[in-house]
Structure formats: C-alpha cells, structure tokens
C-alpha cells in the first residue's frame, strides 16, 4: 500500500470524528438560522414597513460581511472586549447561524410571496388574526416551498463551516490540515477532506429531497421529480 493511502487510512477515524463536529456545527447553525429566519421573513412581509426596513438592514449586515471577518470579529473581538467566555465551537455555531438567518429569511420571504394572496385573505375572512393566518395557513405552505432553497443553504453552510478551522474548531478541515502538515501527505489528506464534504453534501441534499417528496401536497406539482 502506498504511503499516501496508509496516511489516509490512519487518519480516517480522526477525520470522521471531525465530520461529526462539522455536522453538529452545520445542524446547529441551520437550526438557529431557521428559528430566526422564519419570524424575520414573516415580519418583513406582514409587519409594519419600519420593521421591514430594519430587517432589511439586518439582512444586509449579515450577508455583507465575509464569514472570516465575522468569526474573528466575534471570537477575538467581541468575546474579548466584553469578557465573554465562549468556545470556538459555540462561536462557530452562533456566527454561521446568524449569517444563515439572513439568507434563510430571504428564502422564506420568497416562498411566502409566491403564495397566492387569496390564501391569507381567506384565513382573515374566517376571523383569524394575522399571527394565526401566518402560523396555520402561510407557513405550512411556505416552508414546503422553501425546501429546495434550504437544500442550497445547507450545502453552502456545510462548505462555509470549513472556515471555522481558523478559530481552531476541530472540524474536518482543521484535522486534515493538522495531519497533512505532520505527515507531509498533503494531497491525499486534503483530497480525503474534499471527498468527505462531497459525501456530506450528497447525503444532506438527498435527505432534503426525500423530505420534500414526503411533505408534498397531494395533487400538487406532480412533476417535482
């Protein structure tokens, strides 16, 4: 067996442990982005125009600054200045989640706007408050329509999570780099890291595709696949 393969084989358990870290960061960030993004989107569509403008500023802010700048700003800047003791791992989830909330809010906003106006009107006509109409009529439909965009967001966050290696988060990239510099087997190890990312992207987008099919409204968009 060539040295390169041996290096990869030896490093594999270590790299797979890193995949777990990556996955937790990604799932955590997606979840935080979802929890923040849904109300942001609903408020931007149905809220007061002033609130809508504030949210637009929020979106601009989190989409406008590069991830690496944010990570350093938060971890080395803010945490030190305010004397907050957070691990790099936690900061990675928070920062990726905040940025994702900005992107996700626009995925959901697009989905909400694509619904026929009559859906909300019909809910109002039944005597629903705006909040009830949003929760029981708008979101169940809009979230279904958001899954393709969400799948996009997943693959982007997954790849972005590699940047958190700069804070020392022990994810796939950090571990591949660590082993590569120690064993001088750069090519096979970075290649292995790339392959792991490819597999994770495939599994995630495939899973979301299955979810999309599972929650599909009967009789609706039969040509989805």
């Amino acid at each position: 067996m060539p040295d390169s393969l041996i290096a990869v084989r030896d490093a594999l358990p270590y790299l797979l442990e890193g995949s777990l870290v990556t996955l937790i960061v990604v799932v955590g960030a997606m979840a935080l982005g979802l929890v923040l993004g849904v109300p942001l989107a609903a408020a931007q569509v149905y809220g007061h125009p002033v609130l809508g403008r504030l949210i637009a500023v929020y979106v601009w802010f989190f989409r406008g600054i590069p991830l690496l700048v944010f990570l350093f700003l938060f971890y080395f800047g803010l945490c030190t200045a305010l004397d907050i003791n957070l691990t790099a791992f936690t900061v990675a989830i928070i920062v990726l989640g905040l940025i994702s909330s900005a992107y996700q809010s626009q995925i959901f906003r697009g989905a909400i706007l694509s619904l026929p106006e009559g859906q909300f009107k019909a809910a109002q006509a039944l005597g629903m408050s705006d909040l009830k109409a949003i929760c029981f009529v708008v979101l169940p439909q809009a979230l279904r329509l958001s899954i393709p965009g969400w799948s996009n967001e997943y693959s982007i966050i997954l790849k972005d999570s590699a940047v958190t290696y700069a804070l020392g988060v022990a994810e796939i990239m950090a571990r591949a780099h660590f082993v590569a510099t120690r064993t001088y087997q750069q090519l096979p190890l970075y290649l292995a890291a790339g392959v792991i990312f490819l597999i994770l992207t495939y599994a995630g987008t495939k899973g979301l595709r299955l979810l999309e099919e599972r929650v599909r409204i009967p009789g609706y968009s039969p040509h989805g696949f």
Binding site: Q119, A125, L126, M128, V137, P140, I217
Partner: protein
C-alpha cells in the same frame, strides 16, 4: 320593523385619486339575497371586501345585528369576520389541507372547538354541499365546482349571520356552474342572508330579493328583479341589463 342583520352607511374607498366606492349604503334584512350587478370596475368586489374589512374603507360605518363594528379593535374585527362568511371568485381553499381540514380549521383555530366536534360538523357541512365522499381530497384533486362547494361548507361551518359571495361562479366552466348554483339556492331557501356579486342574471332574477346595479363605485339603481330587468328607470341600467342578457341568457 326588526333590526336589519347588516347595515352599511356611506362606505367610501379611494385608491390614490380614483374613487372606487362612493358613499354606498345598504340595508340587509334576515333572509335577503341581494344581488350586485354592474360592469367590472363598478366596485362590486371592493364593496364586498369592505364589508368584512379585507379592504379597509376610508369612510363609512357598518352595523351587524344593530351593533356597530369597530374594526380598529382587532378583537371586534376578528369576532365580526367569524360571523360574515366570504366566498371568493377563485375559491381560496387552503392548498395544504384536504377538504375536511379546510372546513375544520376555522372551527378549531378560531372558534376553539375540539377536533372531534369540529370533525363531526365539518362532515355535516360537506354532506350538505354534496361532497362527503370527497372529504379526504386536496384542493388540487378537486374540480372548480367542488372547490367552490368546499369553500361554501368552510364558511357555513362558522355559523355566519350573513354570507358575501364575490362572483362565485365566474371562474368555473359553464357545466360546473349549476352545482354551485344549486347549493346557493338551497342556502337561500334555508333562510341564509346573502349578498352576491354575479353576472349570472338568469339565476339572480329567479332568487334575488333585490337587484343592485352599481357603476363607478355608486349604486345607480336598485329594486326587485322584475323592476331592474324589465322596467329600469336609469338608462345605464337598461343598457347594461340588455347587454348582459344577451351574454348570459334570458332572465326568468
């Protein structure tokens, strides 16, 4: 005389500089079926949407059962809308819910009924519009006529005092209009109070207690079907009625 179910006084609505409704007043008594006719852009649809405040009127007051509706108070507004059923031209069934769930959702989420009780009632209302065997179907699996009947069942499940029907058959194939008309006819015969915009004047004249002719956001003339269709005073009413009779068949 008893209190009218619905009283509308001087309702006006402007979009920019355009007056869509100008001081429209209307009194609706129990069991009335008022039919709104008039060319498109006359304000029929805006009037109906102003009545349940889906469109906020700029001026005017509305009373339901003698109680003035203060729509700025959210609580009053939501309570009022529950009592005013709305039927839309394009049905607006909730696409993610099947027929049964469409009829049930208002009872459960708005009236706070238990699921079992609401289910029973929903099945009853679907039976009333002849769709009990289709209750598991989703809107995308129903025909236009069936969708409109589900939407009528959905409104009826809220025990409305009055129903507003905004051209309920305009989006339907001609051969599906009959099934919706027969449901509306049954409703009228059971004493439901309704205001309906329509171009189906054959149907209108056989059922209406009053025909209201609107143009440019005003009520130009109103009266019994016989008066409006045969002896209209206003020249515009006569012109419109003769045109629409040509298009939609004889008045009866």
């Amino acid at each position: 005389m008893s209190t009218p179910i619905l009283k509308i006084e001087n309702v006006s609505k402007r979009y920019g500089k355009k007056d869509v409704l100008q001081e429209v007043s209307l009194t609706v008594n129990k069991g009335d079926l008022k039919i709104l006719i008039g060319p498109s852009g006359a304000g029929k649809s805006t009037l109906l949407q102003c009545i349940n405040f889906l469109v906020k009127p700029d001026e005017g007051r509305i009373w339901l059962d003698g109680q003035e509706v203060h729509y700025a108070h959210k609580h009053d507004l939501y309570a009022y809308r529950q009592k005013v059923g709305m039927i839309f031209q394009d049905f607006n069934l909730f696409d993610h819910l099947n027929a049964l769930e469409n009829v049930r959702i208002g009872m459960v989420k708005v009236r706070g009924m238990g699921k079992k009780e609401a289910d029973k009632r929903a099945v009853m209302e679907l039976e009333r519009v002849g769709l009990k065997e289709h209750m598991q179907k989703y809107p995308a699996q129903l025909s236009g006529g069936q969708k409109q009947r589900v939407s009528i069942a959905r409104a009826l499940a809220m025990d409305p005092r009055v129903m507003l029907l905004d051209e309920p058959t305009s989006a339907l194939d001609p051969e599906l209009i009959g099934e919706v008309h027969s449901v509306i006819r049954d409703l009228g015969q059971s004493g439901m109070t309704m205001i309906m915009a329509t171009h189906q004047i054959g149907f209108a004249s056989s059922l209406a207690s009053e025909i209201i002719f609107m143009e440019s956001g005003r009520i130009l003339e109103k009266g019994t079907p016989e008066k409006i269709f045969c002896h209209a005073e206003n020249a515009r009413t006569r012109e419109f009625c003769s045109k629409i009779t040509e298009l939609y068949g004889e008045t009866r």
